[in-house]
Assembly symmetry: C2
Homo-oligomer: 203 residues x 2
DNA sequence: TTTCTTATCGACATTTTTGTCAGTAGCGCT
DNA sequence: AGCGCTACTGACAAAAATGTCGATAAGAAA
């Protein structure tokens, strides 16, 4: 009558692999189930390991949170830095903006940012300014625009990309529209608005 | 040697007052400390009552969460509905937009929205579509623009207002700029972009 | 004053979540 | 094969969070 619980053989990973496995599971939980589910038992179950294994690699559940944040931040920064903006044309800009918006929505970066903001951990993003400056210099160096103006533009682009990434889909669907509508509208308005802003500045 | 713990006389409120007191405390915790601190003991302590008192009025801690969400939503809707847009002028629009942005940042509505989004409770906002439709009809009835276009515009405005409300201040300060810079930039871009969009539509 | 209602509370019980520890088992190395 | 290292695990302990219950007291009404 007893059900045989065929015990799986242990999987022994390298520490790096194991950490990556656990963090990937945690990231999945964060984005699909929300921050509440980032509990020890949940993470361990999602990763297919014992609770003690998670603690073995990260010390505490908070260690998991910290490591997850840092991993997601690093990935996002890498993605943003990879955006190409070789020419100063409308098309090139539109592409860059689209890529930026997608970077913030694809890897759930907006959810990460919201989590950091809500938990007052935004201070973790100490390198944001440096990244923005690097982008300003490396991507916009050929444009004859003052650097602080470029920074203002990037500020508004990032803010809007975050807003769209976090709320765009839900809001669009609430209004009975296709889920990408908010993003499309935001991109249109942003492109047109920035063009006008530049025109005004030149006069 | 024993320290006399002068026991306070009980405060006996009406059920409505007591609920309001508890919810206000919870709201303070949500916006100032983050959602993690919306625990029974934290809420009770902030409200200055015993844990059991909170449960007496709300049943469970989840009941507190639900009631808090509903209260904040109602307050926000009221604020948005109160926005005036009597004329179809640039100035009038700018004022309305500014008011909208402020509504989303003042009462921490963006944090509420982010909380709902992260916890997959956005479905609670069932009346968003109705509110948008009401606003479309009551505020824009005198403008000769199709209703679905107005809805698209409101979609982008709300999305951006949320983004600015949630991330604007932090991002601005990260880049070493005054905290309202993101909002100002967003408003500028939004006004210019919408004007252009309208111009394009007319041609 | 006395009575009645019920908001309030402290103490306790239950459940949930985190963390500890001693032993087990993969895997490389000799 | 035998050995050493350590990733891994289950069982248990500790802590934290939620919820229950009977008693108390504030205020209204008789």
């Amino acid at each position: 009558m007893s059900i045989r619980k065929s015990k799986q053989p242990r999987i022994r990973r390298t520490p790096e692999e194991s950490r990556a496995n656990i963090l990937s599971s945690a990231e999945r939980l964060l984005t699909e189930q929300g921050p509440q589910t980032l509990r020890l038992a949940d993470v361990a179950k999602e990763a297919g390991v014992a609770n003690a294994t998670v603690l073995h690699h990260f010390g505490t559940i908070d260690g998991v949170h910290t490591a997850l944040m840092e991993r997601m931040i690093a990935e996002l920064v890498e993605k943003v830095m990879a955006i190409e903006l070789t020419e100063d044309t409308e098309v090139s800009r539109a592409q860059a903006l689209t890529t930026l918006f997608e970077a913030f929505e694809q890897k759930q970066a907006s959810k990460l940012a919201a989590w950091l903001e809500l938990t007052h951990q935004a201070g973790r993003l100490t390198n944001v300014r440096q990244v923005v400056r690097d982008v300003t210099r490396t991507k916009f160096h050929h444009q004859n625009v003052p650097e602080d103006v470029v920074e203002d533009v990037m500020l508004v682009c990032i803010t809007l990309a975050l807003g769209v990434g976090l709320f765009g889909q839900t809001l669009s669907e609430m209004l009975g529209k296709p889920p990408s509508r908010a993003k499309e509208m935001a991109l249109s308005v942003l492109m047109l608005g920035l063009r006008q802003l530049e025109a005004e500045r030149k006069s």
